[in-house]
Symmetry: C2
Subunit: 201 residues, 2 copies
Amino acid sequence: MHRLYDSAISGNAYKVRLLLHHLGIPFERIEMNVDDGSTRKPAFLKINPNGKVPALQFPDGRVLFESNAIIFYLAQGTKYWPSDRWDQGQAIQWMNFEQYSHEPTIAVVRHWIAHLGKTPQNEPLLPAKIAAGERALGVMEGHLKNHRWFAGDAYSIADIALYAYTHVAEEGGAFDLKRYPAIQDWLKRVAAQERHIAITA
Amino acid sequence: MHRLYDSAISGNAYKVRLLLHHLGIPFERIEMNVDDGSTRKPAFLKINPNGKVPALQFPDGRVLFESNAIIFYLAQGTKYWPSDRWDQGQAIQWMNFEQYSHEPTIAVVRHWIAHLGKTPQNEPLLPAKIAAGERALGVMEGHLKNHRWFAGDAYSIADIALYAYTHVAEEGGAFDLKRYPAIQDWLKRVAAQERHIAITA
């Protein structure tokens, strides 16, 4: 059976759970604590040398890490990976946008405020992180004003990647999605897909 | 002709120049200043709504942004993209590692010290960035002790993505690659590939 090194508060791990559920692939969940150093201990570094969740162990023992790489791999040959080459490039483009410009701002702000709480270390960094998160949401809103999905004409892993932290962006109170009506409509379209599951599922 | 929105100091842009050169695709370079706000002006936001270089405009006018997406797209059907599905997953894994754990630490430290200079704003953040950069180099060293390349048995876009900022990591003086002998050997293997060009070319 597939074994997912997981965290209930991680949107990155949720991407993988959501796609596994879409695909009907059963899996075992290993819940990791992402805040107490567990993922940096030698036992886990044998699973993912970069010390992060998610990591997916396949039935043959091989492991893939990096959330967007896991969903890329699982989606090959399914309807969740675009068939058109340009659309494939767009999917990778938006998934890189997500990991570089969206996750380090929107997800980190949520984690700092909603999970860890503000500290003397993180509080001075919040305004710049929030401003960068608003810019990322603005880029998404601009795209979604003219497109239903991020890569081509169908729901794909690019939408899964961006949905994971966008739909919980308001947790912590730093972001207000009411300012982004096209994003709100797209969130509803994603949640209406067959075999959708909540991040809390 | 292809038109690359480029920056001579950007390793991300260099990834695209290097692959275009490998593939023998002629292109026009549009040099952008990445530090004076030019990439956030309305004219450039029509090219890349996320306001960053590189962006590649194709002869038909379409634009792809995000360095790793551009090299993913260009490499399809060439020897620079692995043919094996597992190796493809590995390539995407390492390219995501590069954008999340390597570029924001190693490239940002280089840029802050070697290009912008230390400031009251960036100096307090340097120790944590440098420590995270050392961790990323450690992860690479661990892989390269047992593998010649990052994805499968051949040089690929995963190597290009990681080479871009690793080979200039010492600029600014924060990192010392002598501590990473397997990385040093791999850098030489990359530079020995046919049609290799320097970042300064």
